[in-house]
């Protein structure tokens, strides 16, 4: 045994195995990002042709008429995200904080379990629920109903990331705070959440990105709108619903515009992501 470690043949065998396994992991990494590259390639190459200033500032044109844009859908998606985030972020962040700081009991366990179940509920089912809870009592489709559906989709993602990120904050910070005579709730807000803020922001972003890409729950909540509308209690257009309609329509011009809408949606999420990273970046260079 001892001898074999020093033997040259063994050394080469280990070295070859190492190189082989390394290449295997590298290959897997490439395969994993391949779909993403395809998505970028197709949306850019097919969507770029209709991407111009008109797309952002003009309304959709009737079939047959070329040109036009999706100003209403872009603003609609932003409003829907705003409503969804407005409801989902506070609930998600506070639930996550509760779970990690005070949720070490049966009730916390139950909430955690239910949150996990909620994150597994198909988005179309969430749409039906929002339809039943909001659309039917209000008797019409609305941006608000769409926002509620998106909020329900965001909450479990934000809750669980918030909880995990807060759990990562070392216990010593809390003890340091307690030893200084700071009340526990203040430590949670000013020290713990602030230390975990970067991770929580990632969770928020994941939640928003998920919501921005949803189509199914919007079909019977926000419905869609051919016209300019920014009213919260009226049906509202959204990029995803437009993509769905335009991509399946039998008109080449619409199909192309669907690609452009996809490109805009992806860019929107990317810009949001960059913006978030910029806002939540660390004030101090030498600390992660």
């Amino acid at each position: 045994m001892e001898k074999s470690i020093t033997q040259k043949a063994n050394y080469y065998r280990r070295k070859t195995t190492n190189v082989f396994m390394m290449s295997l992991t590298l290959l897997s990494a490439l395969v994993a990002i391949l779909p993403l590259l395809f998505i970028f390639y197709y949306t850019i190459s097919k969507g770029i042709s209709h991407l111009n200033i008109d797309f952002f500032i003009k309304m959709p044109t009737p079939v047959g008429e070329t040109g036009g844009g999706m100003a209403n859908a872009i603003i609609g998606t932003l409003i829907l995200l705003g409503i969804g985030g407005g409801i989902g972020l506070p609930i998600g962040i506070m639930t996550g904080t509760y779970l990690s700081e005070f949720g070490n009991n049966k009730f916390g366990f139950m909430i955690r379990f239910l949150t996990d179940v909620l994150s597994g509920v198909p988005s179309i089912v969430v749409g039906v629920i929002a339809y039943t809870l909001v659309v039917i009592p209000m008797k019409h489709f609305s941006a608000f109903a769409g926002g509620v559906a998106l909020a329900i989709l965001m909450i479990p993602i934000i809750t669980r990331t918030t909880e995990e990120m807060i759990k990562l904050v070392p216990h010593s910070y809390r003890e340091a705070g307690l030893a200084l005579g700071i009340p526990k709730w203040k430590i949670s807000i000013s020290i713990v959440i602030r230390s975990a803020w970067k991770g929580i922001a990632t969770g928020i972003l994941l939640g928003l990105a998920r919501a921005a890409g949803e189509t199914a729950p919007l079909l019977f909540t926000a419905l869609g709108n051919r016209f300019w509308s920014i009213k919260i209690f009226q049906p509202i257009a959204s990029l995803t619903v437009y993509i769905y309609e335009y991509a399946t329509a039998p008109f080449t011009d619409w199909n192309e515009q669907a690609w452009t809408a996809s490109l805009v949606l992806i860019s929107l999420i990317s810009i949001m992501s960059l913006l978030f990273r910029f806002i939540t970046r660390s004030k101090y260079k030498n600390v992660n």
């Binding site: 010593s172 910070y173 030893a179 700071i182 600390v287």
Partner: protein
């Protein structure tokens, strides 16, 4: 066996200090538990004002638990106690723990400044987060506390940088400054120099020497020389019991108990 236990709890040992001495913290028949596990057994100890008390003993003897009892940090990790601890004649278990911890500050083994806060905000964290807002007063306190902690000259030009940006030894002095800023009367130190190099350790020890003019200090240490250097009184703990308490000089030259002598001379532990 039960009878022996009973006798132990009933019998109060002779007090080391007389009534005339200024006693800051009085510990009577203190037992501490983690669940059913008794980690401190019927401790009687008086902590005199403006002195340094070192607590020595092998790992797991209950030193840290004892220290954490004095500012009610023991209950934070789910521990319970019996017996009484009085601070200036008041039972700390009857006091608001937040108030107790403002009066009895604590410095931990590992430096733990808040990395999301600047050095300035680290020092005044205890004040700011309790609603103290006067900016001029705050910067005065920062300067005073950092000077007391012998850190001012090293960080005065970088007060706006992160508390995590300085060296370990500086971080520990920052933590001491942070503790001083809330103006406590007692400072508990749980092996404050065990994670530091000899030079930083020397600085912390000098600091302790300075601080005892104004504060009562209880320090847990694994380092026998350190205990001998910085403390006025030393308590030797073993297996959750207080074996011996006396003047440091006496403890390290002529201890009463054989067990103490064995530990100090390195025959066990």
């Amino acid at each position: 066996m039960n009878v022996v236990d009973k006798i132990k709890t009933v019998q109060e040992p002779a007090r080391f200090f007389s009534e005339k001495d200024n006693i800051k913290i009085l510990v009577k028949n203190l037992s501490a538990f983690f669940g059913k596990n008794k980690v401190l057994k019927n401790i009687y100890i008086d902590i005199p004002e403006k002195k340094v008390i070192a607590i020595i003993g092998p790992s797991g003897c209950g030193k840290s638990t004892f220290l954490r009892n004095l500012d009610r940090m023991h209950e934070v990790v789910g521990g319970t106690i019996t017996g009484s601890i009085t601070f200036d004649g008041e039972d700390i278990m009857q006091m608001d723990p937040v108030y107790v911890r403002r009066k009895i500050g604590m410095v931990f083994q590992k430096p733990n400044p808040f990395p999301t806060m600047s050095i300035f905000n680290n020092v005044v964290a205890g004040l700011k987060l309790n609603g103290f807002k006067n900016k001029k007063k705050l910067s005065e306190i920062v300067e005073k506390s950092l000077k007391q902690a012998a850190l001012w000259d090293e960080v005065k030009d970088m007060l706006n940088e992160s508390g995590g940006a300085i060296s370990g030894g500086q971080q520990q002095r920052l933590c001491i400054a942070r503790t001083l800023a809330v103006n406590p009367e007692v400072i508990l130190m749980d092996e404050p120099a065990s994670a530091l190099d000899p030079i930083s350790t020397a600085k912390i020890e000098e600091l302790i020497f300075e601080l005892k003019k104004n504060y009562t200090i209880v320090i847990v240490t694994h380092n026998m020389q350190q205990a001998a250097r910085v403390s006025d009184y030393t308590a030797f703990f073993f297996m959750g019991e207080l074996v011996e308490f006396s003047e440091t000089n006496k403890m390290f030259t002529a201890p009463d108990k054989k067990q103490t002598e064995d530990y100090i001379t390195g025959r066990f532990g």
